[in-house]
Amino acid sequence: MIRLLLSLLFGGVTALLLAFLQSTTPSYAILSRTFSVKVAKVLRTKTIAFAPYGKSIERQTEGVWLIVSVELQSNYDTMTIQAAAIEGASGRLYRQSHRADGAPRLMPSKDLQPGLPTTGIFIFELPEGETSDMTLVLSRQPSPQLDSEIRVKLDGASVETRDRVEIGANGV
């Protein structure tokens, strides 16, 4: 009787241990770089200007505007980038700004096809102090999740600062 109970207990504990190990497997095992990002240019400015539908729009900020030009490529599957944000020096997350909606060449949230690189820009607004250490965070999900995001550290030395940036159809 005791032997039966003990073997039951042993078997059960082993199964539980395996279950625990399985559930805590970090999800980088699924990551396998499903898409790649190349940062072409980073601009910092106090004023952006663009003209959607012919109407001229100017946007100013107490902080700074950050315009990041990228080339994105999906490696294996048709996918979309659903979220883009800058993680600043403090660790706070600044999502793409809707104040720039309508600007030309904004990275669309439409399909990326495997093997076909797509270029576009992301526009962010953040306090000046946050720009000393920035990471671009792109995600396939609406809110960044570890197993579907890419983080690219932005090289502070190559950030170009201008007073004003006009965003035209041919880029910045």
């Binding site: 600044y94 999502r95 306090p127």
Partner: protein, 153 residues
């Protein structure tokens, strides 16, 4: 709940809210005329996102106490004279909040606005995810309601 003077910042957890003034207008802050038969009850405030990421969850931070059946308000970014979307962390902005009410609705001489605050929990009870919970009235502000604001055509 504290009674607070206009112009004094109130800590509402996710938001730092400063109510400045209120009025009635015939135009919304983006320059559009209010539809016939309606008037725009407008609140001028300064809003700052005190959280760690961009957010547009400011709607629940304000409650009108002495206005009957207020509709869902619209938020405008004064800087853009356009609708407000997300507010970025640690970047305070001047904001106007508009309730479109029937033109005939009687309004008090002083508007009573309650600021609702939430507290941060690093792990909630259901998903162990961080978030802001337990909304509670944090402060009441009384604002004189000046009539006949907003430029005519």
């Amino acid at each position: 709940m504290a009674q607070v003077k206009p112009g004094k910042p109130v800590d509402a957890g996710q938001w730092m809210v400063t109510l400045n003034s209120s009025g009635i207008a015939t135009e919304t802050p983006d320059g559009r005329r209010v539809p016939d038969g309606k008037k725009a009850l407008t609140l001028d405030l300064t809003l700052e996102n005190m959280t760690a990421e961009s957010s547009n969850l400011y709607r629940d931070a304000l409650k009108l106490e002495n206005v009957a059946n207020p509709p869902v308000p619209q938020f405008y970014l004064v800087r853009d004279s356009d609708l407000l979307w997300d507010l970025q962390p640690m970047m305070p902005e001047k904001v106007k909040v508009v309730w479109q009410l029937p033109a005939t609705q009687a309004l008090p001489k002083a508007l009573s606005v309650v600021i609702v605050g939430t507290t941060y929990k690093p792990k909630d009870n259901l998903y162990a995810a961080p978030g802001w919970f337990n909304p509670s009235d944090v402060a009441r502000i009384s604002l004189p309601l000046s009539v006949s604001q907003g430029a005519g055509p």
